[in-house]
């Protein structure tokens, strides 16, 4: 397993942890632990916290799980799948960050942390897609 795969796997695991926590507090009806006063609560309860009725945190959870799973898919299909999920996550995270700043007027540090992780995953997965050898470079 190359260092890129190890890094992607480690980052996706951290993201999985954050998304699991946010999904749990959503369904448990709890308030998220938040350093900034009320920011997380405001974002989590805003109209943008769901997509087609599904909490965004749950969609993030599925995204991180898909990235981890794609590392075990051999060949270019696996490389492309990891990059696709990471790039979608990056694009949607960018949109959500814009929404936090300019529509909700509150910042949730859990969401920011997830957006940073997705950015790293997008960069690493594109590098992996372009540089992986023809055979034997997959997890």
């Amino acid at each position: 397993m190359r260092r890129t795969e190890v890094a992607i796997g480690a980052i996706a695991l951290v993201g999985l942890g954050i998304a699991s926590y946010l999904t749990y507090i959503h369904y448990a009806g709890l308030q998220p632990l938040c350093l900034a006063s009320g920011g997380c609560e405001k974002v989590q309860s805003s109209h943008w916290s769901k997509l087609a009725g599904i909490p965004v945190a749950t969609i993030g959870l599925a995204g991180y799980a898909a990235i981890l799973a794609s590392l075990f898919v051999p060949g270019e299909t696996g490389l492309a799948a990891t990059a696709l999920v990471a790039l979608v996550g990056f694009g949607f995270s960018a949109y959500l960050t814009y929404t936090e700043l300019f529509r909700i007027h509150a910042v949730c540090q859990w969401c920011v942390a997830s957006a940073v992780l997705m950015t790293l995953l997008a960069v690493l997965s594109v590098v992996r897609l372009l540089t992986a050898e023809e055979h034997g470079a997959y997890a």
Partner: protein
Amino acid sequence: MSSRTDQKKRLRAERQERERQRAAVSRRNQRLKLLGAVLAAAAAVVIVAIVASSRGGGGGGSKSGKIEGAAEVTARFKGIPQNDLVLGDPNAPVTFVEFADLKCPVCQRYTLSAFPTLVDRYVRTGKVKMELQLQHFVGSQNDDSEHAARMALAAGQQNKLWQFAELFYLNQQSETDTYVNDVFLRRLGSAIPGLDVNKAFSARDGQAVTQQLSQASSAFNTAGFTGTPSFAVGKSGGTLTPIDYNSFDVSQFSGPIDKALGAS
């Protein structure tokens, strides 16, 4: 003899190197094409997700004629008692009054940020009842605000004022545009389950609605407010205290509400 063998080896090595380079270039080109396809697919998925997110509940209004956020509004108020202007348990110990104009973009911002949390934390738990006093001065040059407020108050007669108000904010357009016509109001009303839109249209110009508008205006002026949204909170049945806020952070409202709850 030895020289011919060396030459053959050298030529073979050069040929193999050329083939390796061609294969590397070919693979790089193939990967770049794959990356292009992945980027295009990712962009398409993100665009669809953003459109779905905006339709699902984002504010900002719609000029397309499609009403946005109806399902979320229905879910927001499900199970919460409502009576005319009041949202929540009529016997709640604390009353929270909001003075707002449906065409006011700042009021929209409050509704999309702090309001949902306040409803879940205080109204749904029976601690606070909310009252909405609608003003109508933002669109005074074209009567848009009054048209909106009248229809909202008429919906209030069917205990659907809060659904109508939130749905209006989710579909609010520019405050300088004139858009609150009967077609728009009918679309909004039709998106609220249980609201008899024809009945609301009949009631909106009635004496009861006119009186409520007048009372809301008087209450606003008596409290000394000068802009919307403005808020007051206090023990139910007692004197209400204006809330001095400087953002729509939940804490700006939860502090005064908790204080009133402590005193009640």
